[in-house]
Amino acid sequence: MTLTYLYAVVPAGAPVPAVLGVDAEEPRLVVAGALAAVVGSVAAERFDEAGLARALEDMRRLEELARAHHGVAAALAEHGPVAPVRLATVYRDDDGVHLLLRERAAEFAALLERLDACREWGVKVWLAAPRAARPEPATAANGRPGTDYLLRRRAAREAGTRRREHGAAVADRLHAELARIALADRVLAPQDPALSGRGEEMVLNATYLVRRSDEEAFSGAVAEASTAAGDEVAIVPTGPWPPFSFATVADG
């Protein structure tokens, strides 16, 4: 028995993506009027409620799901506007998807119009790890090691505060500039160091919806900020992404 897994909504007439889906199936289109849903027939035992719950608790399965879901959306995004759907949205059969497209046709059409000719770009900003403290040159006349130690401790603390303030200022300025260029922006939660693999403090995790015609200005602003920020701040762009962070329709 199979279920219908929903990846995205696109304008009718969009090509079927030439990648495999979350259950190694070939994605296909369910068309209703001017819209098409990109779906896959997936095994019920893996994609019913219990199967999904298991998959989402298993990091390897979650990663496979996420990469396949993203792969379909990214393939669609190469050909035109795409409204990606949240991971793990499953219908009993195609009828449910048909109904969805018919009931919410106006919302999806408006969303696709907004997302057309745009791509999502992420920008992450970290404080760089402090350089290892240089060993203090030993001074022959130094007869007060305790005082020196306290002074060095205080200097290190003050340097840490300065780094943090500098990083926050760089992030604020950059975000303001990018938000001005972008059509929309969202600030995401800072990433867990266990997941990002970076121990430094993350001071910005933002994502932007950028018109293709503004991409040059956008990447220019990122590059300029990287140069200006020096080596105490790491600015890391990601993308382009299908516009996951900006695919929202009104509740209902």
Binding site: L6, A53, M59, H70, L87, D192, S245
Partner: protein, 60 residues
């Protein structure tokens, strides 16, 4: 098929896939939606990431 180098970081993907995308009440995900999907998955991730790192070290 091995993953290409420079492939997207999982954490960046999940930032978008778990918190983004059009939210629809799929027929199967109704009760999953009641649980916070993001937190369920991130809890799983964080608890298993150390396991993966250990396996990675062992395989190196």
């Amino acid at each position: 098929m091995s993953a290409p180098t420079g492939e997207l970081a999982l954490v960046d993907l999940l930032d978008r896939l778990l918190a983004g995308g059009v939210v629809l009440t799929g027929e199967i995900t109704i009760s999953l939606a009641e649980v916070d999907l993001v937190h369920v998955s991130l809890r799983a991730l964080i608890s298993s990431v150390s396991t993966l790192l250990e396996e990675g070290d062992a395989g190196a």
